[in-house]
Amino acid sequence: MKRLIGGFFPAAAVIVALATIFAERWLPIPTSLQASYFLDLTAVAVTAMFGVAGALRQTKAVLDEFTTIRRRRADRAVPPINAEFILHLILSSEKCDDQVNSLEELYAKKRARLGSGRADIWYWKQVIGLVWRQLFRGRAKTAVVKLVCWALRICGMGTLADALTKAAAELTSAAPQPSNRRRP
């Protein structure tokens, strides 16, 4: 409704301006120079008045809408959408649903305790940690070994590089368990 009113006033201003020009040109009214100026000035004044009023109403409508969205977001405790989007991009749908669910539940609790800013930071930290631990941790280790071997080969130590590759492969196949697990 506010948008309609906001749109109505500028339109009305244009119609009034056109009607004034039409009256000036085509209706049998005195068309002395003074009268013409008077009509032109009236048209400009009316247009400006309606235009400013319409713009103000439109601005108020937009601000009201913005405030409503902010209030709704504050009530619902919505976590950062971008962070959630990263999880959707990377994880399978079931896994992602479960992890986003858990993150949202914990986020709501954190937000109640710490406030939205710190809860948002907490959420981002958790998402980065989830992605790192589940996707890149093992691969990063492999990449480091490959990089070191490549550097050794460039330096002419191919035998050492081969030995390192072999040792890394043996370690990976012999010890799939994490390093913090106790050995018998």
């Binding site: 079931e94 649903d97 479960d98 992890q99 858990s102 993150l103 914990l106 631990r133 589940q134 994490p178």
Partner: protein
Amino acid sequence: MNLSEFEALVLTGVISAAPDAYAVPIFEEVEQLLPSKKELPLGRLYVALDRLERDGLVRSRYSKPENEPNGRSRRYFEITGAGSRALREAIADTGIGQFSPRLGATR
């Protein structure tokens, strides 16, 4: 089966949070049991749970989305017989439960 302290804590969390043992209650249980008051990353818990499932110490199932309040499926965990045995052994052999009376109580 030799468990790390963290894995023993996670298994205890799974037992304590049963029958609705999904990630959040387990996370809260483990956070309470942890000796240090450092913030526990959720990713660490998920990795540990995946590892325990791979080793056959816990099993998991995804719920149907329509049964959940926000329409997203959840992963529920349950300890297996092997998991219970491993936890009992870990507590008896290595005294993992010494630092936490609640973990010792599962003995």
